[in-house]
Amino acid sequence: MSQTSTPIITAVGITKSFGSGDLFTTILKGIDVTIMQGEFVAIMGKSGAGKSTLMYQLSVLDEPTSGTLTIAGESIERKNEQERTQFRLQTLGYVFQDYALVPDLNAEENVMIPLVMRGMNWTEAKTVAQAAIAAVGLPTKYKNLPSELSGGEQQRIAVARAVAGKPKILFADEPTANLDSFSSQQVIDLITSLNRDFGQTIVMVTHEREYALGCNRIIHMEDGLIIREEILKPM
């Protein structure tokens, strides 16, 4: 990592437990992790290792049981639900496993709504959304409903939605899990290019090592702990 990089995510002592009594389970057992601005990090591990759970904590979709989390200079644990939603809107972008587009909205509207929510006017949001959709290679699909798009196309629209608002951090939770190999490679290339060309900070959970090869660093998890960090490309 270069000496000029600044941390954008700092997590200290993150734990996550579920249930109570006999069903009490601890998924994350004290995670310390720092992610630098402009870094592309992959989280890998076997099923049940806690990689998705860690990503949910880092992406403010969930609240850790204990530990402190600072993102883009803001302490997260003191934020209420509404402030967390607002924080996600302003700071973070998401690509979920199974596209997660709103089925009632067409591609353009799916990309537009977070932009309008941020305060952009309708026309401006439409222009930005169309540019983002064109940038992911689907310039003729603005008006298509999700059901009229292939899985790969839907995931590219999801990427367009995630990055149209220029988030500080992009989280991708197994973005290729439901795609064929061709579409998977397209999506990975797209995500990698965002980091390479625009310096987008990316945290991605994946099972596939080949898709993590474009990352700066791979965090390996096992049984709720980080067992190893692998630097592929120093920043």
Binding site: Y56, L61, D62, Q82, T85, Q86, R88, L89, Q90, L92, G93, Y94, F96, A100, V102, P103, D104, L105, E109, I113, P114, V116, M117, R118, G119, W122, L145, R161, A162
Partner: protein, 415 residues
């Protein structure tokens, strides 16, 4: 503002993408609820309004002039009517002379003096048949025989409720004449004077007062009642169409006629029991309609709840990408609002374009009234607003319940 715009977009798109049959079904339920709300109380109230209309058309007119409380007749009736003649807003009026009378039937066939007389006591009204017909259309109420002819003497009209065959179960209370048909003779006694009349016709109107009365030409009544003046008991006035009755009444009062008689508009002269029944029916109808609203609101609640539950994951994703949950709640409220609006609009069209004209043309035939459907615009508006607000609440509550849930649990489909 942006929250509302996103809510609007989501709400409209949900309706657009929903099954057309689902939308039709929901709107149909809302339309039926609205009709239930309007029609039940509307028909109940319409029975009384029908009765009021009959009273206005067949008896009281638009303005009714009666004796002052401490007088037995309208003072100087001829002078009073001369003023009426000079007011252009008055289309017609009819002067009525009233007496209590005994009417005896079948006296010729009574075998001995120990047998009960077939006699009734009732109100006998002396009229100018032409003027009475012009104001109340009395000739149209003749159900047997013929109407009175001004040039004839010795004929009368019997109200149907004075006859045994029309009164059925009421007869024991009111008394009635048996086996009397047009062409038969009856004996009318006013005070000490008795005269035999031919029954010229039987009249039957929805206004009970008319159907209980006996009508004869006014000169015969004055003669039989030993009246030396032309002072009458009642004048019913029919106004030109679209004339304000209160304005004419005030004009009459300003002419000094209030010194001679009591002058009231039709509404002021309505019997209190009719007003009370109307109010009671209104409350009853609203109560029954309210049950309909509760059923509709539960229906909407279930529909929105199932809808929101089925979309719980997308609600989670929307919240996950930073959409304020208020926008999501607004989407469902708008959905419920659109259903309520569409259903109510259809209900309004059915009510005003179909049901009201239909019931006006084909009133429900009740013994005391021609029942119509009454739906005052203000009352309809109030019911619409009530239905609308309750529907919005029924849409909001399930959306709130689902949207307030944990975001990640919603995304992952966890409970």
């Amino acid at each position: 503002m942006n929250i509302f715009r996103i809510g609007l977009l989501l709400g409209i798109r949900q309706i657009q993408r929903a099954s057309i049959w689902t939308n039709i079904l929901i709107v149909f339920v809302m339309a039926l609820t609205f009709l239930n709300l309007i029609a039940v109380s509307g028909i109940l109230v319409g029975l009384i309004v029908g009765s009021e209309r009959a009273l206005q058309e067949k008896s009281l007119g638009d303005i009714i002039v009666t004796t002052k409380d401490n007088e037995t007749t309208i003072i100087d009736t001829p002078a009073f009517t001369r003023v009426l003649d000079s007011i252009p807003e008055i289309q017609d009026y009819t002067v009525r002379f009233k007496e209590g009378a005994q009417v005896e039937a079948n006296y010729k066939t009574r075998r001995d003096l120990s047998q009960d007389k077939n006699v009734i006591s009732g109100s006998i009204v002396g009229i100018d048949p032409i003027k009475e017909d012009a104001v109340t259309g009395l000739s149209t109420t003749v159900v047997e025989g013929e109407y009175l002819d001004t040039s004839e003497d010795g004929y009368l009209l019997l109200g149907a409720l004075t006859l045994d065959r029309y009164t059925a179960g009421f007869a024991d209370i009111t008394g009635s004449l048996e086996n009397i048909y047009p062409g038969d003779t009856v004996r009318v006694t006013i005070g000490q004077n008795t005269k035999e009349f031919f029954v010229k016709g039987i009249i039957n109107a929805k206004a009970g007062e008319v159907s209980r009365s006996i009508y004869i030409p006014e000169r015969e009544l004055r003669r039989l009642g030993n009246r030396v003046t032309q002072d009458a008991e009642e004048i019913a006035i029919r106004l030109q169409a679209n004339t304000d009755a209160t304005m004419v009444k005030n004009a009459l009062i300003n002419s000094g006629l209030a010194e001679q008689a009591k002058i009231r508009t039709f509404n002021e002269a309505l019997p209190k029991f009719l007003v009370d029944i109307k109010n009671t029916f209104n409350v009853l109808g609203t109560f029954i309609g309210s049950i309909g609203i509760i059923v509709a609101s539960i229906t909407i609640f279930i529909i929105i709840f199932i809808n929101a539950l089925a979309r719980r994951r997308f609600i989670g994703i929307l919240k996950g990408i930073g959409i304020d949950r208020t926008a999501i709640e607004i989407a469902y409220v708008i959905q419920a609002g659109v259903y309520a609006l569409a259903g109510s609009l259809i209900g309004v069209v059915i009510t005003y374009a179909i049901l009201i004209p239909y019931f006006d043309a084909n009133p429900i035939n009740f013994p005391f009234s021609d029942g119509i459907l009454v739906a005052e615009p203000i009352g309809t508006l109030v019911r619409f607003i009530t239905l609308f607000i309750i529907t919005l609440l029924a849409g909001y509550i399930p959306a709130w319940m689902i949207a307030r849930g944990n975001t990640l649990n919603a995304i992952l489909g966890r409970k």
